[in-house]
């Protein structure tokens, strides 16, 4: 198949890598900020206050029910039109992925926190630990172990979902691929498969280590 030669054209690989960097950047920032947001949301979800609980419930359900694409359009076009809040495409993506990641991670955190036996809190109290010390030194480390495999899966999903950013005009790896395919459509009519193959491989390279880490951690911490 001479279509493979498209990959050897000058500029093709560097541009794909540049696109991949945009993908990884959006996913990285989103996941990075989702962690503190998720911890906070998860903690709020465990509170007994009915108002806080209801708000968190609505937040989680809203994010779950809405397709990510709809959220992206809301953030990108809707905010600008309704609130005069004009986010650029990358910012809108990051915001949506943080809200999404924060909600999903929050639910994982809630589940993990609630699965920690009461005796862990009581032992900490009796040993004189402050509530913050109890949370940060005892409860959180255990909760993190329980939720880590699932959160790595979530991170992988976020990486993959960044491909929706194309639809806001973000030029990430898929868009770069489409540009290359189009620019070469007469020279390399069968280049499509090769470019998408290369993109598949790039996603794989990004996501595969994550799933390995998830599996390792799951195995190592299975006893908790």
């Amino acid at each position: 198949m001479h279509g493979a030669e498209i990959l050897l054209q000058p500029g093709v690989f560097p541009r794909l890598l540049q696109g991949l960097w945009v993908t990884v950047w959006i996913a990285g920032v989103s996941v990075g900020v989702s962690i503190p947001v998720g911890l906070l949301v998860g903690w709020l979800m465990t509170l007994k206050n009915p108002v806080v609980r209801a708000i968190m419930r609505v937040y989680l359900d809203f994010i779950r029910i809405m397709p990510q694409l709809a959220l992206l359009f809301l953030a990108y076009y809707g905010f600008a039109r309704w609130f005069d809040w004009n986010l650029d495409a990358t910012g809108a993506c990051v915001l949506v992925f943080i809200l999404w990641g924060g909600a999903e991670l929050g639910d994982l955190v809630r589940g993990a926190l609630q699965s920690i036996p009461k005796a862990q809190y009581e032992s900490s109290y009796v040993l004189g630990l402050s509530p913050w010390q109890t949370f940060s030194r005892v409860i959180l480390p255990q909760a993190v172990r329980r939720l880590l495999p699932a959160s790595v899966n979530l991170a992988t999903r976020i990486v993959k979902t960044t491909s929706l950013a194309v639809l806001l005009g973000v030029v990430e790896v898929i868009k770069v691929g489409q540009q290359i395919i189009d620019a070469n459509r007469f020279q390399f009519p069968t280049g499509t498969l090769w470019i998408y193959g290369a993109i598949f491989f790039m996603y794989f390279i990004v996501c595969w280590p994550l799933s390995i880490v998830a599996r390792r951690l799951e195995k190592r911490w299975s006893h908790d």
């Binding site: 541009r15 005069d84 004009n86 650029d88 495409a89 990358t90 943080i98 194309v166």
Partner: protein, 301 residues
């Protein structure tokens, strides 16, 4: 566990701040909208005008950049070359507009479906993305004078060339669903058997395999394809009504609209769009096509 409300509140504030920071960091992250221009893009471009109301000509001049939506994967109108630079017929026009306005261009890559939305939500000042003028679209955005026109073309094998619609009687014509070609042939050529495909790629393959006698869609598209595929020729380069292609601005942005219209008129005097054609479209369409079938000069049909 009793966490004091004060502490909880601080945590919320802190996390909220972190979130806001992340968003603003995002704004100065890799310049995804303009890969060709990543070095010079800055974060203020979108946040400074936090308003869905269109920017005035003065505001554009002041910011030093005009934001223009173009295609990034529709060669030869708007595409990104191997160096990552925007190129094409629309882009040449965009560059000239910016030059005359004394500003740089910040390109945003758009998909066909997003062309109206990017204007109504003020993501860009101007759309130059092979935007065909329709009544429906004209209700949502303001079109300037046209700079291009498009009609239908019919491509067929060189050894069985179709040069007139009458030759298609009783034959099979390949078309892509939802295109103007479909509507036109259904209405005007009832004796032609239509073979419909969802994707252009499938339609072209059908033509290559001989499943149909000819293929019809926008003349610009078939011209480009025929040039790259030996043994095929566009026998009919101009069929049906002309659709015009024009720049679009946000509804009511009269100042910018007037500027663009003046530019088009002025550029007509120097035959700018013919030069643009020679530079960007001719290498793709070849010299057998009469540029006047595609180019509109000075906004006059």
């Amino acid at each position: 566990m009793t966490i004091k409300i004060g502490n909880a509140f601080k945590t919320i504030i802190a996390t909220g701040a972190a979130l806001m920071m992340a968003v603003s960091v995002a704004a100065c992250g890799p310049s995804a909208g303009t890969p060709s221009d990543s070095a010079s893009s800055d974060s203020s471009s979108s946040s400074s005008s936090a308003n869905a109301k269109a920017r005035t000509l003065d505001e554009i001049k002041k910011s030093g950049k005009i934001k223009i939506a173009v295609f990034s994967d529709k060669a030869p109108f708007g595409y990104v070359d191997q160096d990552g630079k925007y190129q094409g017929y629309d882009v040449v026009f965009a560059e000239r507009l910016a030059k005359d306005l004394g500003v740089d261009v910040e390109y945003t890559s758009v998909d066909p479906a997003a062309r109206v939305d990017v204007l109504t939500s003020n993501k860009v000042d101007l759309v130059l993305a092979n935007f065909t003028v329709t009544d429906e679209r004209a209700e949502k955005v303001d079109f300037a004078k046209p700079y291009m026109k498009v009609a239908l073309g019919v491509v067929s094998p060189e050894d069985a060339q179709i040069t007139d619609v009458s030759q298609l009687d009783g034959k099979t014509l390949i078309i892509a669903k939802g295109t103007t070609a479909e509507t036109w042939f259904e209405k005007n050529a009832p004796n032609v058997t239509l073979q419909k495909y969802d994707q252009y790629a499938d339609a072209y393959n059908a033509l290559l395999d001989g499943r149909g006698d000819a293929f019809s869609t926008d003349n610009t598209e078939v011209l480009a394809w025929a040039k790259a595929n030996k043994g095929f020729k566009v026998g009919i380069t101009h069929l049906g009504d002309d659709d015009t292609i024009a720049p679009a601005v946000q509804k009511g942005n009269k100042e910018l609209l007037d500027f663009v219209n003046e530019e088009i008129a002025k550029l007509g005097e120097e035959n700018f769009f013919h030069k643009d054609y020679e530079q960007t479209l001719e290498p793709v369409y070849g010299d057998e096509v009469d540029p006047d079938e595609i180019v509109v000069e000075g906004g006059e049909l």
